[in-house]
Symmetry: C2
Subunit: 396 residues, 2 copies
């Protein structure tokens, strides 16, 4: 009757969404304050005041016909130029306005880029663990996911395994740094190593292998961590960016695809990105938020709460006896299931009203993800539950 695959995707929500919806119901049952919901990557800090101020200013001072009108499909030219200028200034890049295609957020950036590049039967290498929707986005195009595991303790890519996974059908490698769910950030050395492998691979198969860099967490890093700007290392790079996490606007759906001007067949690839946006029904990115962009480039919400939560959880969970991967960026903590069974671990956590996401759907067994983009007070109040959970495994 209907498309079976779509029905399945709509009926079987992602594990994350499922847990989030469970949490909503559970909060109604036992009170909001008694459920420790670490399921969703929904920023808990408000957008900077400058966002509200600029939006109000735009609404009060702009011609509404222009402010809310269609832009070119690829986005307003001035806005795209401002992003290029900012990135050139910040990373010494060589980008132009016409490298950018503004989108309705990172998920849209990914579906547009993948649709632009892929044909049925093609292969996309994902570094595991990876955000589970990557699989949905890749498979919708008829292409195939090839997972390449990143190992504990630092979850850096295994470059040899990556090179071995390249075949004649490899069209793209998707990298997410800082990473959801581990918080790992690709090191400068590994960024270079990755580029060399992709360059060699492209040469070997006679076709460019595109590096798709999904970067919504670029600005969310701790200490002196630096996130390599991949287009500077590798020419065939497509960056998928979103303003969701850095300035706490996840629901507003605003981001971009950046096609490196040094990519092989740049103009074909950029045209295909525009064509994919058109075919998928995006028309143009939401205009009010397009016009917001120039004034918020380089700005972040107050991210210090994430750092506080990170330290608190890292210290406490380690003290309770859990084995934890110290995150360098993003707002996720990846915790090893003490007996290796992530699903059982999550069920036991649920009994303590802790909502954690098991790692299976991330393409990696035996871990759980804690999204610590919540208030510090919530983290503090959750600690006894984590301690009880540890004890139930005989830890600590």
């Amino acid at each position: 009757m209907v498309n079976e695959r779509m029905k399945e995707l709509g009926s079987r929500r992602s594990v994350i969404r499922e847990l989030f919806e469970y949490g909503k119901l559970r909060k109604q049952e036992i009170g909001e304050e008694n459920v420790f919901d670490f399921s969703l990557g929904n920023p808990s800090v408000p957008a900077p005041d400058a966002v509200r101020e600029r939006l109000v200013e735009l609404l009060q001072e702009s011609d509404p016909v222009k402010l809310h009108g269609y832009t070119s499909a690829q986005g307003d030219l001035g806005v795209r130029q401002s992003i290029a200028d900012y990135l050139n200034r910040t990373y010494g890049a060589d980008l132009r306005a016409d490298c950018f295609y503004l989108t309705a957020g990172a998920a849209a950036s990914l579906t547009v880029s993948l649709t632009a590049i892929l044909n049925p039967g093609d292969e996309v290498i994902l570094l595991a663990p990876f955000f589970p929707e990557y699989r949905v986005f890749v498979e919708r195009t008829g292409a195939k996911v090839i997972p390449v595991p990143c190992g504990a303790p630092d979850f850096q890519p295994d470059l040899q395994a990556l090179e071995d996974a390249i075949t004649k059908r490899t069209r793209a490698v998707l990298v997410n740094s800082p990473n959801n769910p581990t918080g790992a950030v690709l090191t400068a050395g590994n960024a270079k190593g990755l580029s060399e492998i992709l360059r060699r691979g492209s040469e070997r198969i006679g076709e460019p292998i595109y590096l798709i860099a999904d970067e919504p967490y670029r600005e969310l890093v701790y200490g002196d961590t630096e996130v390599p700007y991949l287009p500077n290392d590798y020419e065939n790079t497509v960056v998928c960016y979103s303003f969701s996490k850095s300035i706490s606007l996840p629901g507003e759906r605003i981001g971009y695809v950046m096609v490196s001007p040094r990519a092989k067949d740049f103009s074909d690839l950029y045209a295909a990105v525009c064509g994919a946006g058109r075919a998928l029904g995006f028309v143009c990115a939401p205009t009010l938020f397009q016009y917001l962009i120039p004034s918020v480039l380089g700005m972040t919400a107050d991210l210090s709460v994430y750092d506080t939560n990170r330290r608190l959880l890292l210290e406490s969970l380690t003290a309770y006896g859990f084995s934890v991967v110290p995150p360098k960026g993003a707002f996720y903590l990846f915790v090893k299931a003490p007996d290796g069974d992530a699903c059982a671990f999550c069920e036991r956590a649920k009994a303590e009203e802790l909502l954690l996401v098991p790692s299976e759907d991330f393409g990696c067994d035996g871990y759980v993800r804690i999204s610590y983009c919540v208030t510090t007070e919530q983290v503090e109040r959750s600690l006894p539950a984590f301690q009880r959970l540890a004890r139930s495994y005989g830890l600590g």
Copy 2:
């Protein structure tokens, strides 16, 4: 290297977009006021003041974490309930919040609905003339477009031809009333006739044929024209709606899919709509504009300028000797090419700095579309050019 079809869609812009971009350049060359750009359906009247007021209020008084945060994928529950209540009140419908899936505008509503319903090889009947992107959206799913012509002078559907076009592979009929490009509005009698045919057809082939009603122009009607609410006539209806045209927010990308609660396999179909939104990367509709909806339901921008333009063009072009279809709704005028050659007509119009869209891409030969969503002053100043154009054909 890249997906060839996407490259083609991105390199070969739609005829409408192509003309719009030509217009932008031409305005730079000879001055904005000297180009009469009737190419794009971009509303020329501002959004109602209430839109700005409510947006500012939301920004100043709401918690930004909630205001800009993710909603459920199908949209905020309260917002969906308010739309259901409004439609039930207005059309005596029987809709619930869970019939609605909020989207990033009408194009998104269409790609989501089509992706939910179609499999490769399926057939979708389009009543021609139709908005050219329908073809792009249908073909992206691997399904096939079956055009059924609507004839002059009133461009109502030929119900017999429609019935004859139904085959075992027919999964949907897409109807756009008020129509882009003709301005025709389906009569109550034809809405009932259409329903009977679809009911008979569904029975004959043993599968529901879905009626997809694309309704961004619902509120844009002239005189005492009434637009039948198709879910009241036919159970297997999916409405694709957008707030773009009625309240002049085309760039903001906000609309919905409504699945009739009486549709066969309602829950499968609704699940498939949610699944399609997920697979295409929509995540959720832009949240600030979701929260705007309850306060603008039933509201329209000041549409009187469109009516003034319509009368002025209808009267003048008829007087100059053109054969014109009087529009009942939307803001398009469909004009017959005097010698039947629409492309030649558009080229000749271009020489007079009149930008009109030829009808070929609308699945119908021999007409041009005038988008009269411009200022009345622009229409007035364009009339001598139309008159010269008429004379060049020996009319008047």
